[in-house]
């Protein structure tokens, strides 16, 4: 096992004793961790391990039952939400609108009026900005890529991606991985929750293993035996 140490780097996210309870079920059971900027973290683990809950907590979408999350030096996650891009498992896109219309809408919410920026973001994820058909008629892979474009439209410092490779063909997954590496190299901090950890084998800086609501291991290399 190759444990990771970041003694020299300043953490961008500090989680302390994070507990999230849904009724009597504890999805997170006292998670404590630090994450430094400019890294790509792959969060792996079996279903129900607490990966998505951790990601939603980081995005400020789930209020912790106990514990704190400090992001970019503050525990008020709402105040830094413009620095965070979140790609949920569902696409968060409006089916009746075209991809570019969706992106334009989300861009306006962030005060971005430049349509060229939307077109560039669409092209960056490998989609044609001129595509006029509604998102409802997109394939699952195209939806995933458009969803990634939506998450990064406002150029956030932190990207939280929940299962970005699900239902994506191998070629598209490789393209997405390449894009994530580029974003990481550009200084973004990226968290990817995935069941397809092998997609990130040569891209992730660290694999964060979760089990039963806890982070049980952090390694630089993917432990093949432990990935479903």
């Amino acid at each position: 096992m190759n444990h990771v140490s970041h003694a020299a780097a300043t953490p961008i996210i500090v989680i302390h004793d994070l507990v999230k309870q849904f009724g009597r079920f504890a999805a997170l059971r006292g998670v404590s961790a630090e994450f430094v900027s400019g890294r790509l973290y792959a969060i792996v683990g079996e279903n129900g391990a607490g990966k998505t809950t951790l990601l939603r907590s980081l995005a400020g979408l789930t209020r912790p039952t106990r514990g704190t999350i400090s992001m970019l030096g503050t525990t008020d996650l709402r105040s830094v939400c413009r620095q965070v891009g979140y790609m949920a498992h569902p696409s968060l896109l409006y089916d009746e609108m075209a991809g570019m219309e969706n992106l334009r809408y989300f861009a306006r919410l962030y005060g971005i009026q430049d349509d060229q920026h939307c077109a560039r973001t669409t092209a960056a994820v490998g989609l044609d900005p001129k595509l006029t058909r509604p998102v409802g008629q997109y394939s699952q892979g195209m939806r995933q890529r458009m969803s990634l474009a939506r998450a990064m439209i406002h150029d956030p410092r932190i990207l939280l991606l929940d299962e970005p490779f699900s239902n994506v063909d191998a070629h598209s997954a490789r393209q997405m991985t390449h894009l994530l590496k580029q974003l990481r190299d550009a200084g973004k901090t990226i968290f990817v929750v995935t069941h397809q950890a092998s997609q990130l084998e040569h891209a992730a800086d660290e694999f964060v293993q979760m089990e039963a609501g806890l982070i049980t291991r952090r390694t630089r290399e993917l432990m093949m035996a432990e990935t479903p």
Partner: protein, 215 residues
């Protein structure tokens, strides 16, 4: 302030575009209101004088029930997309436009089916319509958001909305009846409706963030 206006404009334009393409809310409201008009016109056979007296109540009850169909769908798309940070005012304005479109289509039908002709100042109907509709949608949008996470939200919305809308409904019906019959002035009811709108719009704006953050 301009940032909020831009976000509200983007949100409103998105809602109108989605409704223009899907026609979910408008179609269901129109069919519902049409059913009410036809069924009531066959159930009763009022004279012109009787029509003027009952039409205010009839029209607004039809609009209220039809609007609930649309209000129930207000946040459904956002819930599906988990994007609840949309602006309350944009949603309320969107619903206002949908209900006004409904009223524009349905009013001529009411006039024909119930042989209506205003004996009072007819222009005041426009004011009553705008104020009454706003009273309905501002609370409706708020309570739709509040009932969003409940299991029986289709039932919960009318349960919350109707009792709190009674003063507004009373004022709207009385004002409409006053204008149609010409028996008394509608001014008192119009002022009451305006005051109701100011109070409840302010309350909804202040409390919306709390409702949104609730888990």
């Amino acid at each position: 302030m301009s940032a909020i206006t831009n976000v509200a404009r983007a949100s409103l334009s998105k809602d109108l575009r989605l409704e223009w393409r899907s026609k979910d809310a408008i179609n269901s409201m129109l069919f519902f209101a049409l059913l009410v008009v036809v069924i009531f016109s066959f159930s009763f056979d009022p004279t012109a004088e009787e029509s003027r007296r009952i039409a205010g109540g009839l029209v607004w009850v039809a609009f209220l029930f039809a609007a609930v169909v649309a209000l129930n769908q207000t946040w459904a798309r956002e819930l599906r997309n988990q994007v609840l940070d949309a602006l309350f005012l944009a949603k309320a304005f969107g619903n206002f436009i949908f209900v006004i479109v409904l009223e524009t289509f349905m009013t001529p039908l009411f006039i024909v089916f119930y042989n209506l002709r205003a004996l009072g100042p007819a222009y005041q109907l426009l004011i009553v319509s705008a104020l009454g509709t706003w009273a309905l949608v501002v609370n409706g949008t708020f309570f739709a958001a509040m009932s969003l996470r409940t299991r029986s939200r289709e039932i919960m919305l009318p349960l919350l909305l109707f009792p709190i809308s009674i003063p507004a409904l009373l004022a709207t019906v009385e004002a409409t009846t006053a204008i149609l019959t010409g028996d008394f002035s509608a001014k008192f009811w119009i002022v009451l409706l305006a005051a109701y709108n100011v109070v409840f719009t302010t309350a909804c704006l202040l409390l919306f963030d709390t409702v949104l953050k609730a888990e």
